[in-house]
């Protein structure tokens, strides 16, 4: 299908460029609805790959690219069932999201994330599937998972480790701190920084550039330089599921969900 309008995202194709827009209030939290739409997109990819050269992934939400996994939905699901069933549900969710993100990662398109505002947790992991990250000057990247007693579960560590030095990966993972676009550029996470509000325009200009090259050659080059860290991605799911049943996780989720103050996204 050329164009699609779902509950949490939409896409359109024009001039050899696919634009996938995340659009679920308040900050593109990734829960079951977003997963359903992402799976639909992954299902449409073979047809899109035959028509286009580039994919731009961006957000229509002013808060940012994505605040990550939908922790409120996760907390509600866990509250409604026993630990074993919740753990089974989490593993199923992770298997599904990994399948989608691996497909995006390996797409035969040059993929560009145009990032503004918050790009946290699962949202950061989604951006990391892309070949290029173009960061708005106001973008902010973070892996806050350790605050919840977890590790990133959507493939974040293996993908970040593929892109940048292990010391910075450890800093982000073990401190849970967020970094801005300037720092992201300095460490090689982002390849370009755009002025405030200009990331999508810059991404479009970049996408136009990549459409000029021979597609099969570009695909070979991409797969040569960007292999899928398959074994580590599998291990990540196992580690996440093992950690998920620890009491600290429920305490962390409850703290986040029940925080009625101004602080849930601060460490």
């Amino acid at each position: 299908m050329n164009d699609y309008m779902g509950k949490s995202l939409s896409w359109r194709v024009a001039d050899g460029i696919v634009e996938l827009a995340l659009d679920r209030a308040p900050a593109n939290e990734i829960g079951l609805a977003m997963l359903d739409d992402l799976e639909r997109f992954a299902g449409a990819l073979p047809e899109l790959e035959s028509k286009a050269s580039a994919l731009i992934l961006y957000s229509k939400q002013s808060a940012g690219f994505s605040a990550g996994a939908d922790l409120r939905e996760l907390y509600t699901l866990v509250q409604q069932t026993d630990t074993a069933s919740a753990a089974k549900g989490v593993r199923e969710f992770l298997e599904r999201i990994h399948a989608v993100l691996n497909r995006l990662d390996m797409a035969s398109l040059t993929t560009i994330a145009a990032v503004h505002g918050v790009c946290f947790g699962g949202g950061f992991e989604l951006a990391l599937t892309c070949d290029l990250i173009i960061a708005d000057k106001m973008a902010r990247f973070c892996f806050p998972e350790l605050r919840l007693g977890l590790i990133p579960g959507f493939g974040g560590i293996p993908r970040l480790k593929r892109d940048i030095g292990n010391g910075v990966v450890r800093d982000l993972l073990l401190t849970g701190r967020s970094i801005n676009a300037t720092k992201a550029l300095a460490v090689g996470l982002a390849s370009q920084v755009a002025a405030e509000g200009e990331a999508l325009r810059v991404a479009r200009a970049t996408a136009e550039q990549v459409t000029k090259f021979d597609r099969p050659t570009a695909v070979v080059a991409k797969h040569f330089i960007k292999p899928l860290p398959a074994e580590e991605l599998r291990r990540e799911i196992d580690i996440f599921c093992k950690l998920f049943v620890q009491p600290a996780v429920m305490q962390g989720l409850r703290r986040f969900v029940e925080d009625t103050g101004a602080h849930p996204y601060l460490p």
Partner: protein, 80 residues
Amino acid sequence: MKTLEQTTDEILNLAARHFKVPRADLQANDDFFKKLGIDSLQALELLTRLENHFGVELPDYEVAGVSDFRTLATRIQARL
């Protein structure tokens, strides 16, 4: 090297401009969450604007628990 007062003043000017609050209403000891009426996502936006303005990197754990402009200024001073 800026003085603490200069840094505080620049923070107050920036906060007033971006969150559309009259500058005269902001004081160094104000709780910026309450005075600006911002949530944690907007606080991160303020942090990013301050990092960009002062050209510093300010880890968010250093400002966690900080809610007044003057203490925020001392954290930035330590990074200038």
